[in-house]
């Protein structure tokens, strides 16, 4: 493109009338000259002029093409035309925009979350070069090893180390990170104000911290005078700065991070460092892994293993495939919204039949008309996308608010600081989805409206092959199918939640779980036993949830068949303290607990799997030794007792004996009153003895275990609810349109003696027919998906029964009722047709 070309194009675009006028003048001049020539050749004037025109043809359109702005010109015309149309039917435009916006909002909200964890890179310098270092085996890096790594020649240009620890400040819990001096410099993260940490801070006598921006805002109410104040953690450090907004480290729990402090031997443990290195330019991951393995083999005995720290979650293709069912469920709502709009557009296209027919018979190209109709849909989709983003913001806010108020405080606190921003990716996604749905809901009506037979239709000649209602009914049946599927998902989840609500966890409401470091175990136990309000009841293995312990494989001594079950170490007091009576056999004895005898207690579910004859106690059991089998477990065990089913009923639990003063065990205590208050009080008492002590309430443990299912229920119910609303409006729309269209026919029927009830029944029957069609497709699909899911993720069966006749029946009933209800108003309208009026109408 050259300057003259650009000038001509701009001129053609903006001085359209003038350019057209010039073209007309130029061509007129030519005809004038030709006429003159013809006259000179002996024709009379009239004949000469006619001849000149005849031979001239119509070069205007070709000349316009040469301007190469036709695309924009046509677009501009189409946009203006569409806007004029919307102005005439504003309700139509509004309903379309709102429907699509809701469908887009649901998907945008999900994408926003996905974007925040998996797509948005960490806001640090060149995050693509950052890799977390691990080894393929159990090993934690010490500070000394970190120093050694830094002094070696490795594929890393620089390495940072950090260690996290949970702190409680004014009753709120968050993560404090102890980091190496080069941490901020290496990541290229500055301070919002004050300063960041520097290597010399570790040598300072005075302990210092840098607050995270999020913590400064939410925990310290954005106090502008925070610098120089001291935190109430055991070290009592001075705040020297607040880190740049949006930075929360890249250790994985950035939403929780309150502060960074320099790592110092003596004060922090320095025994479990999270190591992140920056790869030297030009070195690939595989090459770096090989290079680092030399070092890790030396210090840890295992090869090195690198994980990118560019984004919060590193997705591989399998993770994405695993997530795809979620994406499908959400996009179904958008597809339903599109189906609704398609039906509305079809109805609108029908009423524009005459206009389009005339344009076609006047020679408008079909492609040109389709393009115009698609422009119209896109024009509706763009505001829908913007509205969708706005709705998703509100929905995210609202659901976070609800989540925070129901979740246990420690999880809720992290959520409160988690940011889900709209960036260009979210914007782009929603816009693309919007335009995609415009094509989805616009193309079918556009093709339908411009098919060649429309020309006949414009003359009032409806041929036999002309069946617009088939398409519309098909769309509604399709909607009912999706709606039924979503209802089944919601129903299955609901049943799962009911089942999990009645799930037995034993006595949890007044039990606290205390984790102590082994060096202070004795003093802590003494303190607890001297407290009159507290009763030490048991010890359990140190795992996050008592009921969601690790799994191991067990087998009968003479059989190769292995059973996967959850295991837990428990002291004898566990079963009495948590109200879990021994149903068969006996409890562990004190001696067995102290000597870690090869005995076990199993839950009823596991006992029935292993010994269907019912007698479990006294039988022996083989522990399948694997790399992850805890070391002290003997190969052969004797089952001494069977207890009630709690926790995981599918896999069952197996309990091994332990004692309260065994190292590495958490202590369970019972204490009356509100567990949250009791937790704070005990934490305050024990922190003086062990500054690393942690206290949880079992009630919170259980609710963190059950809340995810609760959340799934809310999400699926919301989606099913939306689907239901869309279906109702879809059915209503189609029936109302059909009644309006068949007004004359209904009038004739009534004039011939059909009763109002019979006429209403016609409409209702049509609605039911659609419902049955939709259900007939949905049920086998749901059954098939359920079968596949069951075989793919057998774990799900524990909570969700995907093929649940009760749910299927309830959904079928609900869909039929809803379809009948949606046909109520249209059928009343049909019954109200006055034959005298309609028959006289044309």
């Amino acid at each position: 493109m050259n300057a003259q070309d650009l000038w001509l194009r701009l001129r053609a675009l903006f001085l359209r009338d003038k350019v057209e006028q010039e073209l007309g003048d130029e061509l007129d001049f030519h005809i004038e000259m030709q006429t003159g020539k013809n006259i000179a050749a002996g024709m009379n004037e009239e004949n000469a002029r006619r001849h000149a025109r005849l031979h001239f043809g119509r070069p205007e359109e070709a000349c316009r093409d040469e301007r190469r702005i036709n695309f924009f010109e046509t677009l501009w015309q189409d946009v203006q035309y569409a806007l004029r149309g919307f102005r005439k039917t504003p309700m139509f435009a509004l309903v379309v925009v709102a429907t699509i916006a809701v469908g887009l909002a649901v998907n945008t909200a999900v994408f926003t979350a996905f974007n925040a964890v998996a797509l948005r890179p960490y806001d640090v310098r060149n995050p693509n070069e950052l890799y977390a270092l691990g080894v393929r085996g159990p090993h934690s890096f010490t500070l000394a090893e970190y120093e050694d790594l830094r002094s070696q020649q490795t594929p890393f240009s620089d390495v940072i180390g950090s260690e996290d620890k949970v702190y409680e400040i004014d009753g709120r819990r968050g993560v404090g990170l102890s980091v190496t001096g080069n941490y901020f410099e290496m990541l290229g993260v500055g301070a919002a104000f004050g300063r960041t940490l520097v290597p010399s801070d570790a040598a300072n006598r005075e302990p210092v911290v840098v607050l995270s921006h999020a913590a400064w805002r939410t925990w310290f109410a954005a106090d502008p005078g925070i610098l120089g104040k001291r935190l109430s953690t055991p070290e009592n450090p001075i705040v020297v700065g607040v880190a740049r907004e949006g930075f929360g480290g890249l250790e994985g729990d950035e939403a929780n991070v309150i502060f960074w402090q320099p790592i110092k031997i003596g004060l922090q443990r320095g025994i479990d460092l999270y190591i992140v290195g920056r790869l030297k330019p030009g070195i690939g991951k595989a090459q770096a892994q090989a290079g680092l393995s030399v070092w890790t083999q030396h210090v840890a005995g295992y090869p090195a293993y690198l994980r990118s720290r560019e984004t919060r979650l590193q997705f591989d293709i399998n993770d994405l495939l695993g997530m795809s069912p979620i994406a499908v469920i959400f996009s179904l709502v958008l597809v339903m919204a599109c189906a609704n709009v398609t039906n509305m557009m079809l109805a609108r296209a029908m009423s524009r039949q005459r206009e389009i027919g005339i344009r076609l018979s006047l020679g408008a190209a079909r492609g040109r008309l389709i393009r115009q109709l698609l422009t119209e849909s896109t024009l509706l989709a763009v505001p829908a996308a913007l509205l969708g983003i706005a709705i998703s913001r509100v929905a995210i806010r609202a659901s976070l608010y609800v989540l925070i108020s129901v979740l246990p405080p420690e999880v809720a606190g992290a959520l409160a600081m988690f940011s889900l921003p709209v960036d260009w990716r979210v914007f782009g996604f929603t816009m693309a989805a919007g335009v995609g749905s415009a094509i989805l809901f616009g193309l079918l009506p556009a093709l339908q409206a411009t098919r060649p037979s429309v020309v006949q239709a414009a003359r009032g000649d409806f041929g036999n092959e002309y069946r617009p209602s088939r398409l519309r009914n098909g769309l509604v049946a399709f909607q009912i199918t999706i709606c039924a599927l979503l209802l089944i998902v919601a129903g299955v989840t609901l049943r799962g939640v009911i089942r999990s609500g009645s799930q037995d966890f034993g006595r949890v409401h007044d039990v606290l779980r205390i984790a102590v470091t082994d060096s202070s175990r004795a003093t802590v136990l003494a303190q607890l036993e001297s407290d009159p309000t507290v009763r030490v009841v048991a010890a359990v293995g140190y795992s996050r949830y008592v009921w969601a312990g690790e799994t191991i494989q067990v087998a009968l001594p003479d059989s190769s068949r292995e059973y996967r079950t959850r295991y837990q170490y428990t002291s004898p007091e566990f079963f009495t303290g948590l109200d879990l009576p021994v149903l068969q056999g006996r409890n562990f004895t004190k001696e067995e607990a102290a000597s870690k005898a090869p005995v076990a207690i199993v839950t009823l579910a596991l006992a029935q799997q292993l010994w269907p004859d019912g007698a479990a106690s006294g039988r022996s059991l083989r522990i399948v030794q694997q790399w992850n089998t805890p070391r002290p477990l003997p190969v052969s065990m004797t089952v001494v007792g069977v207890v009630r089913d709690t926790g995981d009923r599918l896999r069952g639990h197996i309990y091994f004996p332990t004692a309260v003063n065994d190292p590495g065990r958490a202590i369970l205590v019972r204490t009356p009153g509100d567990p949250a208050q009791a937790r704070r009080r005990i934490l305050a008492n024990l922190t003086a003895l062990d500054d690393d002590v942690k206290v949880w309430s079992l009630r919170d443990d259980v609710s963190t275990f059950t809340t995810p299912i609760q959340i799934i229920l809310w999400v699926t119910s919301t989606l099913a609810g939306l689907a239901l609303v869309l279906t109702v409006s879809g059915i209503y729309g189609v029936l109302a349109y059909v009644v309006a269209q068949r007004r004359k026919e209904i009038g004739i029927r009534m004039a011939l003696g059909a009763s109002a009830g019979k006429v209403a029944a016609i409409v209702m029957k049509q609605s039911l027919r659609l419902a049955v069609r939709g259900l007939a497709i949905a049920m086998p699909i749901a059954w098939g998906i359920g079968r596949v899911l069951d075989s793919m993720v057998p774990d799900l069966k524990e909570m969700f029964r995907s093929i649940d006749p009760v749910v299927y029946l309830a959904v079928a009933l609900a869909v039929l009722i809803v379809c009948l209800a949606a046909s109520y108003i249209p059928s009343r309208r049909a019954a109200g047709v006055d034959p005298a009026l309609t028959l006289r109408h044309d």
Partner: protein, 107 residues
């Protein structure tokens, strides 16, 4: 005998015709017809689009002027870039015709 123009040769003929000086569309078509002794007939349906195309390529420039009969007409004139293009196309045209001629004589 009337001949349809070979694809792409119209542009060359227009540029060549304009070498002598500015002309309007009608004059261009007349000039081509005359000089070719009525063998080449320029179809208006392709002449005007071609003129607009050449204008967009900045090989010619249009100006409004007054015709011999005192009427307002659009005159086209060769630009510097157009002159260069004409030289190029003339050369390749000569090569082409010579090559075809040789084949017709010798093949």
């Amino acid at each position: 005998m009337r001949q349809d123009l070979l694809q792409g040769t119209l542009d060359l003929l227009i540029l060549r015709t304009l070498q002598a000086g500015p002309l309007h569309g009608w004059a261009i078509s007349e000039r081509i017809q005359q000089i070719s002794q009525d063998v080449l007939q320029v179809n208006q349906g392709s002449l005007y689009p071609a003129l607009h195309r050449l204008e967009h390529q900045a090989w010619i420039k249009a100006e409004w002027g007054v015709s011999d009969l005192g009427r307002r007409a659009r005159f086209y004139k060769l630009t510097a870039a157009g002159r260069k293009q004409l030289e190029l196309e003339t050369k390749s045209w000569d090569q082409l015709t010579e090559a075809i001629g040789r084949i017709m004589r010798l093949a």
